[in-house]
Amino acid sequence: MDVLYFAWVRERIGQPSDRIDSAPVTVMDLVEELRAREDRYAAAFADLSALRVAIDQELSDFDAPLQGAREVAFFPPMTGG
């Protein structure tokens, strides 16, 4: 599964994406896996209330299941318009 980062999440992690081969059950499991990688990930995922998640380009929740998901994205609240 591809994991994408946008805005300050991308800057904090230092790259726009990762490829994950494990099979996390929920978004939260994926977050825990990423947090354990390196400090920069732990820093980016320190406060989940400051983050939003999309599964296959649809806004979702941190407790959502990831079964069948091809693309998960993490980003701050959107500021369009």
């Binding site: 649809e58 609240p77 369009g80």
Partner: protein, 147 residues
């Protein structure tokens, strides 16, 4: 329904005229345009807008579709730019067409409210002293509740 996500500037006058010209039986056209604020000397040099290619288009289509289901609209146009924009440049526009003005006005407000916090764009302000991501405002999230 015409939805465009682009780096290039757009011509507001030409877009509004072309949008109006392709309507039939519509008595009201409403347009809204968002501009990079020019806060005076040295305050804001530029704005960088990042987006999520793919999801952006889907989100905008969904928002426009929902507006079309709620109000009686002849047409909807959304143009949103990304990339580096200088002060006073136009960021985005929406246009709505309806038989009577209430639908066009309300639909335009609805589109803007949802575009602000449900379309995956992120703004970064660049000034003489550095750059900062624009924080989402609670008012913008609150604004969705009125719909």
């Amino acid at each position: 329904m015409d939805i465009r996500v682009q780096t290039d500037p757009f011509d507001l006058g030409a877009e509004a005229t072309a949008f109006a010209a392709r309507q039939q039986g519509m008595g009201a056209i409403v347009t809204f345009t968002g501009v990079v604020r020019d806060l005076g000397e040295g305050a804001l040099h530029a704005m960088e807008i990042e987006h999520y290619p793919g999801m952006t288009e889907k989100a905008l289509e969904k928002i426009a579709q929902e507006a079309a289901e709620r109000w009686s609209l002849g047409d909807v146009l959304i143009i949103h730019r990304h990339g580096m924009l200088r002060a006073s440049e136009m960021i985005m526009m929406v246009a709505t067409a309806s038989r009577h003005r209430a639908d066009a006005f309300q639909a335009a407000e609805y589109l803007m409210d949802f575009l602000k916090s449900r379309a995956p764009f992120w703004k970064k302000e660049i000034s003489g002293s550095g750059s900062d991501w624009v924080a989402a405002r609670t008012e913008d999230e609150e604004a969705l509740k009125r719909w």
